[in-house]
Symmetry: C2
Subunit: 149 residues, 2 copies
DNA sequence: AGGCGTCCGGTTACATTGTAACCATCGGCG
DNA sequence: CGCCGATGGTTACAATGTAACCGGACGCCT
């Protein structure tokens, strides 16, 4: 959980994007780093305020466009139940995720979805539904906050 | 899928609420019926416009409060990825659900979550996380829209 | 080099979604 | 009757997200 860890994550993400031929511009880099620096979900406007303070973003659309890019490349996820974004160090292309969201400390832990995805695919197949994207978010209390209750 | 079916759903929902001792007011009844009448997710402001036209709701907060009540009682669900609401005829108290959301026709089919919930509980338990609420939404194409492609 | 097309982001001006805060009313209950 | 909790009317915003238009950068072809 050190700062170094997160910087590394951003740096490695940029390498992966470069290898993939994606255009990694200054704005996108700034948004990526800002996301990776946090270990909590961040709202688009929070992000905007940070970047604006450093003259790195001009207006909300810039931030949303960068976020769309990062989500599309699988370097970030949007948490639908928080309207917030988190960086992702999985480095695959646009994978889906299951988030354990703590309402005590606002942490959001990403966990693999293999088993859940399989079940979702089953549910969908039974009804002839073609899955494109999956949102799985669990709200509750993490181990720490549960103890602290 | 007849209109009668939806009216019945609303009527039975009201009975269940009454038996439960919940206060079913005119506003809440109106919102419930409006929700059940649709077979698609409805935005809060769409709902508001409908009710306003009949002088049934005065302002957005009224609608949101009624929706919170209905969701709390398990008579409606919020779709986080659409910012919209759907009625529910399950009549249990505040159950969770899995929605198959078609981006072609905007239908949202609610399917049971027993298997998924089990897997989510497993994922959570492994990390000492206490689950309170679960959001599972799958976006894609329903059988009809897939064929029509 | 010059022209072209595409991608990116700046900018403005909104649209949509959701809420805080305060007060009036209503209905049960001591 | 007077209190109290629940409900909802009202105002005024806050927070989140976008459409549309433009200009600059960069690669690519001639
Ligand atoms: Zn991820
Ligand atoms: Zn926590
Ligand atoms: Zn339901
Ligand atoms: Zn469809």
């Amino acid at each position: 959980m050190s700062t170094a860890h997160h910087c590394d994550a951003a740096a490695r993400a940029e390498q992966v994007l470069a290898r993939r031929g994606a255009r990694i511009t200054q704005l996108r880099r700034d948004v990526l780093r800002a996301l990776m620096r946090e270990d909590r979900p961040v709202g688009a406007y929070q992000l905007f305020d940070q970047l604006k303070a450093r003259d790195a973003a001009s207006a909300p659309p810039a931030v949303y466009r960068a976020l769309d890019f990062l989500v599309g490349e699988g370097m970030a996820h949007k948490l639908q139940s928080l309207n917030a974004y988190v960086g992702c160090a999985c480095f695959e292309h646009a994978h889906d995720a299951h988030f354990l969201i703590c309402r005590g400390c606002n942490a959001a832990e990403e966990v693999p979805t293999t088993a859940i995805r399989k079940q979702v695919d089953t549910d969908a197949a039974e009804r002839g539904f073609a899955v494109e994207r999956m949102v799985v978010e669990t709200v509750g209390l993490c181990a720490d906050c549960k103890g602290r209750a």
